[in-house]
């Protein structure tokens, strides 16, 4: 069977509780290779908690997360050893934080930030690491001359680009993004979204993007999932959901944003 014939990620009945409250209450979905899925909802809807649960950052209280590995077929990510899970997270996966400082090492240079994953995987040739880092800075449309500068000196938009380069350097097949463009100026946001769109296409990246911004979903996602109170209330092709929302909550979301 060709690998594109199977979902790259299969999530079944994921539940995550905080005390008595279920922040995520039985969510299931599948993600296909090269597919971009947007998870939208207001704050408190459980979308970020869901992202942490499916990206192996916070073990769910119930449910399963199955990832289609390159060589060993589908594996339950929480059944893996911690070492294997962390290896997966820094090779075949990426995670882009809303706040770039959380995803970067702010006290080392841009080049080292991009090169870290390569070094962690055993790359021991300085020249190659540096060349690769420079190449990735170009691909995220950054000035390669800044390769030795600290991210402290970068603008918010540049930090986010650097964070993306740091994640993509190992050619992951799946990237998780938590509100990657919020907190940036509108014009910076638009350019970053363009970049993300072309990168996901060029690299056939599968991605899950959590956002409260329906415009982000419209621009990037093939499919979207609307969450409310820890549950999925509507799911479908992005254009279909946005143009013809079925669930009253989605209708409310869409009308409150898209009204002229």
């Amino acid at each position: 069977m060709h690998e594109n014939d199977r979902p790259i990620l299969r999530v079944r009945g994921v539940v995550k509780r905080y005390g008595a409250r279920a922040a995520v209450d039985g969510v299931s979905f599948e993600l296909w290779p090269g597919e971009v899925l947007a998870v939208v909802g207001e704050s408190g809807s459980g979308k970020s908690t869901l992202l942490n649960a499916v990206s192996a950052r916070a073990r769910p209280d119930a449910g399963e997360v199955e990832f289609l590995t390159r060589h060993d077929g589908p594996v339950d990510v929480y059944a893996l050893s911690e070492a294997a899970r962390r290896l997966l997270a820094r090779t075949d996966w990426g995670f882009v934080h809303q706040n770039a400082a959380e995803g970067l090492r702010m006290n080392v240079s841009a080049g080292a930030n991009v090169g870290e994953r390569l070094m962690a995987l055993g790359e021991r040739h300085y020249g190659r690491i540096r060349a690769e880092a420079g190449d990735w800075l170009r691909r995220v449309e950054m000035d390669v001359a800044r390769i030795d500068d600290s991210p402290q000196t970068f603008s918010g938009g540049m930090r986010q680009r650097l964070q993306i380069a740091r994640n993509l350097v190992t050619r992951p097949r799946l990237v998780f993004m938590d509100e990657p463009t919020s907190g940036l100026d509108v014009s910076v946001q638009a350019r970053l979204l363009d970049l993300l769109r072309s990168l996901t296409r060029q690299l056939s990246l599968a991605a899950i993007i959590v956002t409260h911004d329906l415009a982000v979903a419209r621009l990037l996602a093939h499919r979207m999932m609307v969450m409310k109170g820890g549950r999925v209330v509507e799911t479908g092709l992005t254009d279909q959901v946005l143009d013809d929302p079925q669930h009253p909550y989605t209708q409310l979301l869409v009308s409150s944003v898209l009204q002229p």
Binding site: A83, R105, V108, S109, G111, M119, L121, R124, Y126
Partner: protein, 289 residues
Amino acid sequence: MNPTDLPAAVERDANFNFGYLDERTKRMIRRAILKAVAIPGYQVPFGSREMPLPYGWGTGGIQVTASVIGPQDVLKVIDQGADDTVNAVSIRRFFQRTTGVAVTERTVEATLIQTRHRIPETPLAEGQVIVYQVPVPEPLQRLEPRETETRRMHGLAEYGLMHVKLYEDIARYGHVATTYDYPVMVDGRYLMAPSPIPKFDNPKLHMNPALQLFGAGREKRIYAVPPWTSVESLAFEDHPFEVQRWSQPCALCGSTQSFLDEVIVDDRGGRMFVCSDTDWCRQRRPADA
């Protein structure tokens, strides 16, 4: 024999147990040492005792030495390569007083060597034990101060961060800017701090026939490199590990293969370079006075 090879005699003080520590404490430390030898480079926590010397002055090394020393041992103690620096003298006197064992300044005569900051230039032999005093056993501490994190990094052998540091050095200076306590990989598994020896000494750690024990009293860790174990200094393929070189030989013995100390001889910028290993230097000089 040169009379300076025999340090001053100190009488054994019968008020103290052999080696100062009580036997149960020694057994506890020996268990930690055995575990350390079994897992080369792994830091074994141990119940470090308060010693009559200050923390940071060799309490870890002293506890290791006190636990392995026997009445037949011949002890050598060096600090900065020299047997006669005050801290070396103080530690040697401590063991003379609490064990009464024979002491020597000759590397070849010693069965047990306690050292701070150097490995003798004279190659060690099988059967010898060298005990290093370690101030900071955790090689990752300067990069990640939380022990809970560094323990996880060792457990999972996630050492990318250490190479990030080396990368940064090269990006900034064109070469790795660590000159002592240069991190090493032991037996291909554990990242280890070799204690603040100059990186000049790092190659001596590799496949050394002697048993190498490391004691950190304040941080309460013991680790070891068993005889004939691989010890690799971290580097990049295109920026290989290199040791310090001097443009001149030792002014006293003419050695060109030893680590040299710089000695300022006047206030007009005059200086000379002499071996830091005093025994090595003396053995190479013609017997005079």
